[in-house]
Amino acid sequence: MAKLNMITGGIASLMAIFACSTAMADDVTLEYWVFSDFAQGDALALQETFIKEFTDKHPGVKIEIVGKGDDDLTAGQVAGAASGNLPDVFMNGIRVGAQLAEAGVLANLYDKWMAMPEEYRAQFDKNEIKNCMPEEGKLYCLPYTGYGSLLFRNLTVLEKAGIDPSKPLTTWDEWLDQMKKVKAAGVNAIPDQSLVFNSIAEMYAISGDASTWSIDWDARKTRIDPKIMAKVLEKFVAMADLNSGTSRNDQATKDLFITNQLAFHTVGPWVDPTYVEAAKNSGLKYDYVLIPGDTAGKHGGIKYYEFVGVAPGKNFDISWEFASFITEKEQMVRWAKLLSRYNSNAAAMNDPEVAALPLVAASVEAVKGAMDVLPPYFVKAVPNCYLSTVVDYTSATADGDYSPEEGAEEMISELNACLAQ
């Protein structure tokens, strides 16, 4: 009997060890890096819900979410690639896609993507999927959140300047006329649009489009058209005396808008929660419309995307499953409802409840007419001198150092020199 007990005990122990080793073999912990604002408050709670739903379906998988600022995300991903310690699934902005692809941070998702059912692939905005594909057979990202820039208007200021905000704003000329009226009423019309590359791109889109804004990497030349750029620089000269001297990203700009000292703010929808709070607490009256173009029906503004990438390596398969799970319609609908924000899952944007959200509806329209901020993506890293040249010559022209024609010529010549290096 004692022998039988020993044998039974031995078998039970072996089975326990075997079960344990099987479980250990299946156990995997994924590191998931997100933008810091996605790792706090309600956004974090929803991300944790997604993680729980996924891990419930995949026993043995544990996912650790880490929030990081924009620069930290990029620096951490590159350092991770160098040390062989990459996060498994991560977000970043599409503008740094080429750097990350070059550094080997991003796995090619093309085969996995093509293996997904058509109904999954059809959910995404086709242009955004195209942006993730620098060439046939290579897909470096799944487009995730994003925005189209909008024109936020302070209605109290407009009324003070004798402007009827209910009258649609259809062209740049009408908008400039309103800016002049606002300034004449003693209020700042607009932030200084010449301070940040993205706000210059927003203004360029008023006159031009992405076909003349991108880079020809084969010839290593800018595609910016000098005539269009001269026309855009004229706008900066016209706005020079009307602006608040703050950039579109400054806290001071939001403060000016909230305190009725600024009429217009061209920016992404992330400022809306701040303005909603101000409307509740201090009576801010505002709305948002599309940025008018040179002609009726044309819109200015930019569109930009954040993406989800997957690292190459041993956890690639399960990481891809998680990435495809968080980007699919059901999750993106919940994400859009929570943040009231646009994302690149077109099926989610068409969901009736999401489409009825005013900010989403405006964003969907804004994206249609907006210009990609710095295409083509995932091809080659745009040198910093390219961005600084655009900003410097725009500022210099607005300051009166060049005429718009001279500024455009000099800028393009300097951009080509920068790309040739």
Binding site: D70, D71, T74, A75, V78, A79, A81, A82, R95, V96, Q99, E102, A103, G104, N188, D192, S194, L195, V196, F197, S244, G245, T246, S247, N249, D250, Q251, A252, D255, L256, T259, Q261, A381, P383, N384, C385, L387, S388, V391, D392, S395, A396, D399, E414, Q421
Partner: protein, 279 residues
């Protein structure tokens, strides 16, 4: 010795090695000879960053030291609780995190409703766009820098002041020397070695200026230096090249040029200091 090799010698030698290579931080480096150095020297941003650095050094170091000396003399004239209070108050900016200091100053400098513009407004002076007007940006940075560094230098100089024998002042007073004469003929000469340390440290810190202009201009790895690059400095450009463009070879060349410049300036100052002592 091991620590010296690991934390000092190795980074310098590996930086020098990578400065001759095209390297994105991940793939194998490719030897490119002197082309990183050639590229840098011909780059618009490099010359702008170096010019800004020279202007900044020439203004911020003397002003910072004068401010620190003034504060040290002031605090030294107090005794007991007041001396402690002022010493701690002036040292506070040193321990304040850089991002917090920058946030405070961005608010002080804000156009329209910033504290400074509000004060200017009381005197009928039109608002100044301190952080976006290329004519004022450098001075706005220097003011922040002096505010932060004066406390640290003050503590060092204060320690030097406490070491000056009081008999020297008593003898000078008996000889009829006024306060100003005491400072010129006793305090400053006796502070020589401490002052040498403060000047050297201030120059080295100023040559590596990074966090304050970065935060004041709301810079990122791809856009930095503020309006028309008025607050672009070498370390900022080096960070941009490294993490914005993944040109670690170029960034290493940048780092090596800066290190060489810092070592050269320090050596010259050391030699001058030694010559003065020998005389």
């Amino acid at each position: 010795m091991l620590l010296f090799v690991v934390f000092f010698l190795y980074p310098i030698i590996s930086g020098l090695f990578y400065s001759f290579h095209d390297w994105n931080g991940v793939r194998e480096p490719t030897f490119v000879g002197l082309s990183n150095y050639r590229w840098l020297i011909s780059s618009r941003d490099f010359s702008r960053a170096m010019t800004n650095l020279c202007v900044y050094l020439l203004i911020t170091v003397p002003i910072g030291i004068f401010a620190a000396l003034g504060l040290a003399l002031l605090v030294d004239s107090f005794t007991g609780r007041w001396a402690n209070f002022f010493r701690n108050a002036y040292f506070l900016p040193v321990v304040l995190p850089a991002f917090l200091a920058a946030t405070i100053w961005r608010w002080i400098y804000a156009p329209n409703f910033g504290l400074l513009n509000m004060i200017l407004g009381w005197f009928g002076i039109p608002a100044v766009n301190f952080l976006n007007d290329t004519g004022t940006m450098m001075y706005a940075l220097i003011a922040v820098d002096v505010w932060v560094s004066a406390g640290f230098n003050m503590v060092i100089l204060l320690a030097g002041l406490k070491n000056i024998p009081t008999e020297l002042y008593e003898a000078a007073r008996l000889d009829g020397a006024n306060k100003w004469q005491q400072i010129i003929h006793i305090t400053l000469p006796m502070l020589g070695p401490v002052m040498f340390f403060v000047v050297t440290y201030s120059v080295i810190s100023a040559m590596q200026v990074f966090d304050k202009p970065w935060l004041l201009t709301g810079s990122s790895f791809t856009e930095y230096g503020g309006r028309r690059g008025a607050l672009l400095f070498p370390v900022m450009d080096m960070m941009g090249q490294a993490f914005g463009e993944l040109k670690f070879g170029l960034a290493s060349a940048y780092g090596f040029i800066l290190t060489t410049a810092i070592v050269a300036v320090t050596a010259v100052m050391y030699l001058l200091g030694n010559r003065k002592e020998t005389k």
